[in-house]
């Protein structure tokens, strides 16, 4: 599967490479939700820096995970870099709801500061 999972503290970093369409969104949802059930995850960081395409299934994936995470008092962060996904994220208004970062380090720093700061 074209995705990597990393857990840093209470944050889940989910990196998707290539194309995020309906097919990939369903697989990602199952994988993430399984981890959310088993682990004490507060925040989800979506790393889209190696994403080459995203359609509206990606929007559904992000909003769906946000609904779970907000009940845990956490947040969803987006790492976008120069991904072509930026256009659709901006168009759908998600860039106004979620904080977006250029690289993963910046997102991880922001989450840690929020927890410990």
């Amino acid at each position: 599967m074209n995705s990597d999972v990393n857990i840093s503290g209470t944050s889940l970093v989910y990196k998707i490479k290539g194309e995020l369409d309906d097919h990939m969104a369903v697989k990602s949802r199952e994988r993430i939700d399984d981890i959310l059930l088993r682990r004490e995850i507060k925040n989800i960081i979506f790393d889209f820096t190696e994403l080459t395409m995203m359609d509206s299934a990606g929007i559904g994936l992000i909003i769906g995970r946000y609904r779970i995470i907000k009940d845990r008092g956490g947040e969803v962060l987006l790492v976008i870099g120069n991904s072509p996904a930026k256009k659709i994220l901006r168009m759908s208004g998600l860039m106004k709801i979620f904080k977006a970062y250029d690289n993963l380090d910046a997102a991880l720093t922001a989450v840690e500061h929020r927890v410990y700061g």
Binding site: E19, D22, M53, A57, G60, P84
Partner: protein, 147 residues
């Protein structure tokens, strides 16, 4: 050069990538910018997902896709023989989804309309739906770093 192509494929989500890659190859002689290419791929994804998820509603059917180019203008036609759309105006509205219980964002047609130059929907309940999209490929001034 004017060109034409047509394929038919099974209504399964794996074939969304097939549809995207097919059109990407077809349009590549027009040397689209990366942004135009991403717009086209995303719009095809939305249209094909609609056929699979809404048209056939998980049942297996065939999706037909054809495309032609006239100079720098690309036209893509995507058809399913599924349930059809009850109310096209409603389906076009941003955030409207006929499946609110799922994680559908209701942004499909809105995305197609923003990313393509024109989107036409022809649908008949019980017969199926055809989406016709066009896009004028812009002159590519990007410097290739492919080597």
């Amino acid at each position: 050069m004017n060109n034409y192509m047509s394929i038919r494929f099974k209504s399964v989500s794996e074939n969304e990538a097939l549809a995207r890659n097919c059109i990407a190859s077809f349009v590549s002689p027009l040397e689209p910018t990366m942004e135009d290419m991403a717009d086209i791929r995303t719009s095809i994804s939305e249209a094909v997902t609609n056929c699979i998820v809404h048209g056939y509603d998980g049942k297996i059917g065939m999706v037909e896709m054809s495309a032609y180019t006239e100079g720098k203008k690309l036209t893509i036609k995507i058809t399913d023989r599924g349930c059809g759309i009850h109310n096209i105006d409603k389906a076009r509205q941003p955030l409207y989804t006929s499946k609110p219980e799922t994680e559908r964002s209701g942004m499909g047609f809105t995305i197609m309309e923003s990313f393509m130059d024109s989107v036409k929907i022809i649908s008949k309940e019980g017969k199926g739906t055809t989406v016709i999209m066009t896009k004028n490929i812009r002159e590519n001034t990007e410097v290739s770093d492919a080597g």
